[in-house]
Symmetry: C2
Subunit: 303 residues, 2 copies
């Protein structure tokens, strides 16, 4: 069996982090990323955070490469055959929290795992994706986001987009609210097929597709006028983001279970969020439209 080329992946991930940070800095136009290179046990990482920008209230873009003696429960619960294996995990993960409530929050992640056991061939796999969380939805933005996702997948087969779109809808779902986190996008995991080169190539395409998917939406909405009402709704909906990440997100759980660097893991938390008991938007208000037209799972590319 071919050996996965972890050095190429590291180089790709570090370049992806650079490329994304450069593009976000340019579109923000005010703030720059602060960088922390860290080491922790046998793990290391490069955390970059931009704060109080013109566009982004906070943007966090993490690279990390960690090692462990035994895969944690967040992985092995779904893959019993890997219990007790030593592992390496490397990835780039990012969350954007824009200031303007008309600009959606977005998240992307590309990750690679290799799990080893003496005497056995190493298990390796890629995972990742990107998903969008609007506060005020725009149909054309949702279509653009999903068209870009579809275009990224197309060279790898016609069934790839629908499969990973569905997986994304299932994954980014708040069961305790019976509510989607946003309008989805792509999510894949345990990817090993058809071979290392192709799986890596697909993961690269997803990583690079993120900017094509997100930047045009930011450009279109960043000057949209907004006021206190929209701000309050944004802060309320950010509460849902917190709930998803702390209750359901496997990546967050993995980080916390493996004694990861908490400040880097929780850079996904919004700078400010609020909760309000039993809030319900007024019927037919712009806030109600999010719940009615955007959060229920739908096929955005259907004619």
């Amino acid at each position: 069996m071919e050996q996965p080329d972890t050095e190429s992946i590291t180089i790709f991930l570090l370049m992806l982090q650079n490329q994304i940070c450069d593009a976000l800095t340019a579109i923000d136009g005010r703030a720059v990323f602060q960088e922390d290179c860290w080491q922790r046990g046998s793990g290391r990482g490069r955390t970059r955070v931009l704060r109080q920008g013109k566009v982004f209230e906070q943007a966090g873009v993490n690279f990390s490469h960690v090692h462990g003696n035994s895969l944690p429960a967040s992985i092995t619960t779904h893959r019993l055959e890997l219990v007790g294996r030593a592992y390496q995990a490397m990835g780039v993960s990012l969350v954007m929290h824009p200031e303007n409530p008309y600009v959606p929050t977005s998240h992307a992640n590309i990750r690679f795992f290799i799990a080893e056991k003496p005497g056995l061939a190493p298990a390796w796999w890629f995972g990742g994706g990107f998903d969008l969380t609007p506060f005020y939805g725009f149909i054309e933005d949702a279509i653009h986001w999903h068209r870009t996702a579809q275009a990224v997948c197309r060279p790898f087969g016609v069934d790839v987009y629908p499969r990973y779109k569905r997986w994304c809808d299932n994954y980014f779902f708040l069961k305790h609210r019976n509510e989607a986190r946003g309008i989805g996008g792509l999510f894949f995991d345990n990817l090993t097929t058809p071979n290392f080169a192709q799986a890596f190539s697909f993961s690269r395409a997803v990583g690079q597709g993120y900017l094509d998917a997100y930047l045009p939406i930011v450009e279109r909405r960043k000057f949209h006028p907004w006021g206190e009402r929209e701000r309050q709704f944004q802060l309320y909906r950010r509460g849902r983001y917190v709930e998803f990440n702390l209750i359901w997100d496997c990546g967050t759980l993995f980080g916390l279970q493996t004694d990861g660097r908490t400040e880097s893991i929780l850079i996904s938390m919004p700078p400010l969020a609020r909760w309000e008991y039993h809030y319900e938007p007024d019927p037919d208000s712009p806030e109600a439209v999010l719940y009615r037209d955007f959060l229920p799972v739908r096929d955005w590319l259907k004619d």
Copy 2:
């Protein structure tokens, strides 16, 4: 074996909820509790929320009584012998989020479980406690809080306070931050000894002790002047409260795992919270004192 008297417990819990809400309304002096009586499947509850008071930005006091066909993992992970048992759970649970950062956040809970299986004696137990989460600590408040806890426990044995104080310190701990939630108090679970009457009596004492522990502290601090700096630190520390409740709290997990009423369960969330990457208080600032003198576990009643 004696049958636990669930009707007496229900009556006690509803009266405790009344008593606590009355006292909080009086000390707040402006806002009143809004009440929602709800039914959900075979469960029911009475959720009370006070908002935008003079003292409390939000206060939530829940009563609930729920039934299920099978105890969830949040319970059975620690008590394998109860897997598959039908259960009833009833309790009062409350979280206070004061507006003034000099008034600490507090939490209390009294709960009773009964788990049944045909042909076997029912298993029942009490649990509960109260704990305090200051933003700016006062030694005399911490001593008062723990003295009250000790006095509540004293009639039930000299070893009761130290045991449940230690359990509280262990329970309300954010492992991913290596940091306590606050200064603790009392926590007990699986209480069946020496018999139903005594266990119930102890649980009543803890429930009623909460007001004796909390109200004098609120009175002492509610007019303490504060400004934007204290507010920002309070919002930051509330982020830790969110993290504890969504990542570690068994009660929250139990509620969400048993498809409970989310709006009632998450009334523990603060009305507003913030996160800040890599925040560290200035050395020797009042904020640093919290981390240095109040969060590390200590014996508050030592001479």
